[in-house]
Symmetry: C2
Subunit: 214 residues, 2 copies
């Protein structure tokens, strides 16, 4: 079987999501670095694989696939029975994983990424952080995290008492919020969210991916 | 087997997505109207089922599920072999369905909903449409639709030569854009997008759902 190729940028949140999933599933892969900082993801060669010009894209034999949340579902299904089960063990569990994956994609990711972008990337490009925009998105995240706190008081992980793609999807953005954006209090001020974060951010797969330099 | 209950609001795009999926799958259901116009989705009774206070939520026996894109995946899997197959017929096809579902959720939905909101809902609440915001989001949608045009020149539907959840997810917002927002030119100016839209918007399941009044 051909090794899965990941065309990605090691610092990108979406690339890290896919790499972490591959590590959890104990799947061999080859990382082909697309130098997003230099604009390589907007060049014709890459756009031919992913017309949206976003990293990552994977190649698995004849299949070319983009959208990180679609990729991790594909990997979880293809390698069912290998490494960590990430998609539950019944139709109902799978449905709850899907539900919390959608919550991440629709309600958590956008404010989290806006904060990251304003605090980390805008200054790097010579701009000034829009503090009002940061504050507005922190408020959005507070509402989501208050709901997580309630949920995590009833189950150890988002989809139930098992680690899943739903938790995994929160690792890359939350890591930057906590370690690089000074927003750790969003997590540590909530008892159950804090315990959840301490648990999932210590997983060996995530440590391996997040400690890799560029 | 208990009938699936859909707690939703018939005019909401997310409710219509779920109803259309149920119609395609030929599944019996009961629609319990949550009067979102009157704020019923923000009342404690509903928030106990869905803490995000968004419609719809389904109840299927012991399972309570929200997030419309998660619900339709659950239905497509549970009723595999009944009604229209909406999730492909192999792991690779399923992956491409997931990919284009994510494109809808991450790139198409947000600009489309912003346009709907500005043109339809803001004036209803006594406000004034922010034309600059509409224009900015039309530009975002143009970029996405240009990619769809290229894609649909190669396959009849988004995920391949079969109708799927990925196409289905575009029906509710695009319907309002075309029929109520005067944005039909976004679709009709693109040959392949136009043919795709004429095909999917004429499906009996969608006609049944979209022609229902409030």
């Amino acid at each position: 079987m051909a090794t899965i190729k990941v065309l990605g940028y090691p610092l990108s949140t979406a690339t890290r999501l896919v790499l972490c999933c591959l590590e959890e599933k104990q799947v061999d892969y080859e990382l082909v670095v697309v130098d997003a900082a230099a604009g390589a993801h907007k060049q014709p060669q890459y756009l031919a694989l992913n017309p949206f010009g976003l990293v990552p894209t994977i190649q698995d034999g004849d299949l070319t696939l983009f959208e990180s949340r679609a990729i991790v579902k594909y990997l979880a299904k293809k390698y069912k029975g290998q490494g960590t089960e990430l998609f539950g063990n019944s139709l109902s569990e799978e449905a709850l994983v899907e539900q919390w994956c959608e919550v991440e994609g629709q309600s958590y990711n956008s404010p989290a990424l806006t904060i990251l972008s304003q605090i980390l990337f805008v200054p790097k490009k010579g701009g000034t952080t829009d503090e009002a925009l940061v504050e507005m998105n922190v408020e959005k995240l507070v509402k989501v995290l208050d709901i997580y706190e309630e949920r995590l008081s009833k189950s150890k992980y988002l989809a139930g008492d098992f680690f899943s793609l739903a938790d995994l999807q929160h690792l890359p953005t939350t890591h930057y919020l906590v370690t690089d954006c000074g927003k750790g209090d969003l997590i540590s001020s909530r008892k159950h969210v804090k315990a959840w974060w301490e648990d999932i951010s210590c997983r060996p797969a995530w440590k391996k991916v997040s400690e890799k330099g560029p």
